[in-house]
Amino acid sequence: MRRPLGGGRRLATPQWIAAAPFFLYVGIFLLLPTAIVVGGAFVDSNGLSLSNFASMNQRFVINAFINSVVLSATSAIIGAVFGALLAYAVATGNPNGVFRRLVSSACGVLAQFGGVTLAFAFIATIGGAGFITLWLQQQGMNIYANGVWLYQLRGLVLVYTYFQIPLMVLVFLPALDGIRPQWREATESLGGGTWHYWRYIAGPLLAPAFFGGTLLLFANAFSAYATAAALINQGSIIASLLIANTLTSEVGLANPGIASALALVMVVLVAIVMVLYTVLQRRTSRWLQ
């Protein structure tokens, strides 16, 4: 029998070699940009300084962050509730059925359906001159009688929900699958009803997964940029749009230092959310999976 080629050398190769491309990738596309943002946030035209953070104490900057949080929270809660319901419907159905396969593959696609394409889908259908808008107008209904709300914060909530619900289904379904029918049977044989089952068994077990999923959706919406940029052209109403404006303003408002400071605040907020997510995730995996 021949020895496999190069088999003798394998011992000499450090194990991290296989992971090197991953670390290289993370280094170039995550760590380096983060370092640039952190560095840039503490530098202004006079050198090292905190002035970038000082100029963030303005009404419009604070409003942008409030709007971002409101938008992310609203779309995350709506997405989590409806996503969880849909996931429950799927989980209780036939595990090999058409419905489940249809929903999970659709969710896999739609959870990634964001950015300009998503914005365009909405503009083309219910935008100011979208075909549904125009058709409704012919029927005597004007959905924009009080202003074109699609291009405002309310519109963003609607559009974000479109990718939030499928994402929730994807992250919540494994937790639901982890619930064993035996637990319900055990509850019943001990004399418990549906209320007891949900209150003392399924509820506490699923809660960490549910809230963890909600946090993930929050972070997902908070960091979204392209969808909002394609829809909203006025006012930089959310933090990610404000950063873009601080980088590209041609009327003299461009200031890369302030943009970095804004980005750093976003990084910190998302980091907090993701730490909470990890904690909840750990709790989830104790029982389910």
Partner: protein, 369 residues
């Protein structure tokens, strides 16, 4: 040890590549001359400049959409006349995008050669330009050029309201826009905290509503009223949104607005006589231009009679217009098509523009959010 041989070969290849790029970068001696030339005479006259530019063979331009002030025709004209290819980057970018590209691309071959920017950005970045005086330098009024030729105003126009008369009632004053016929129909060309054209749109509204070049707040109030009535649409007006009907009323430069007439025959332009606000764009050469001779030749071209008439055909007012009118070189048919302007035009000073943008930074989002 096969791989060692392979590495050797790879090393040779890499060395050859380095040599090749080195040749591409500094091989021609005449470009050194062009890079510091402050006029065509410095490189030995216009024909020497043409020769040097042809040798470079390429020109990088940025943020010049073909449907903006007839740039498409100017680009084609330049290419046809000199056989120099043009790489047009980020056509819908802003003036600040141009400066960002100059800084980020540094001395690489992809850096923009020539720039065309709004006033605020031009003034904020003068250390990035190479001074150059075109042959027609003396035709340009002194107030419209930097004395050493670092930047020169090239074309401009007046702020106007363009509207599709097939979709909305006729506009005879700004107040009309508050009417019910304009629900969700009034747009700006960009965000005024970001785009120069939009800032001037708000300023024009301010002047028409009792404000002044020193006070843009009345314009912000006006757009706030539009927003409350549901008449303001936060969509950026482009050729596409006008054609499609999303933005049937647009505050924009008259020369940009006028080009919508090609797509929308019922497009009309209104300039309020109590608020005539003018502005010119500024041409400059990147001091690190990868194609210094072609960059200078481009400026010669756009400031020549031919180039200036191209802008005029795009309904922009070229900076040499007065001189060309007196020398008879003006395309009078194109000049006759300019939207008529009755009244005294206002031009923002730097201080006024700064004041306006600072006010907008803190008030705009709230007014329309």
């Amino acid at each position: 040890m096969k791989w060692q041989a392979a590495m050797k070969r790879l090393g040779l290849l890499a060395g050859a590549l380095v040599l090749l790029t080195a040749c591409g970068g500094g091989g021609t001696t005449s470009t050194v001359n062009a890079a510091t030339a402050k006029s065509a005479a410095d490189v030995g006259g216009i024909s020497a400049l043409v020769t040097a530019a042809k040798k470079e063979g390429k020109l990088n331009i940025i943020a010049t959409p073909p449907d903006w002030a007839n740039y498409g025709a100017i680009i084609d004209g330049f290419k046809a006349k000199y056989g120099i290819s043009i790489d047009s980057a980020n056509p819908n970018g802003s003036s600040q995008d141009e400066i960002n590209a100059v800084k980020q691309l540094g001395k690489t071959s992809r850096a923009p050669d020539v720039l065309d920017m709004g006033k605020a950005v031009t003034l904020a970045n003068t250390e990035l330009y190479a001074p150059y005086k075109v042959q027609t330098w003396n035709d340009i009024p002194d107030s419209q050029k930097e004395s050493t030729g670092l930047y020169v105003q090239d074309y401009g126009g007046y702020m106007a309201i363009g509207y599709d008369s097939g979709k909305v009632p006729a506009v005879t004053s700004l107040k009309d826009l508050l009417g019910s016929g304009f629900r969700g129909k009034v747009a700006l060309n960009g965000d005024p905290t970001k785009a120069n054209a939009a800032l001037n749109g708000v300023m024009m509204a301010s002047i028409a509503n009792g404000g002044s070049a020193d006070d843009i707040s009345k314009g912000v109030d006006f757009f706030h009223q539009l927003k409350l009535k549901g008449n303001f649409t936060p969509v950026q007006a482009t050729t596409a949104t006008v054609k499609q009907g999303q933005t049937p009323v647009v505050f924009d430069w008259d020369y940009l607005s006028a080009s919508h007439g090609t797509d929308v025959p019922t497009w009309k332009i209104f300039t309020p006589s109590n608020a005539i606000l003018g502005d010119y764009y500024n041409a400059a050469i990147n001091k690190n231009a990868p194609h210094p001779a072609a960059a200078r030749l481009w400026e010669e071209y756009v400031f020549s009679d031919v180039g200036q008439n191209f802008w005029l055909k795009g309904l922009a007012r070229p900076v040499r217009m007065a001189a060309m009118q007196s020398s008879g070189k003006i395309d009078s048919a194109a000049a006759a098509k300019l939207p008529p302007v009755n009244g005294t035009p206002v031009f923002l000073t730097d201080a006024q523009a700064t004041k306006a943008k600072d006010y907008l930074a803190s008030h705009w989002a709230q007014a329309i959010g």
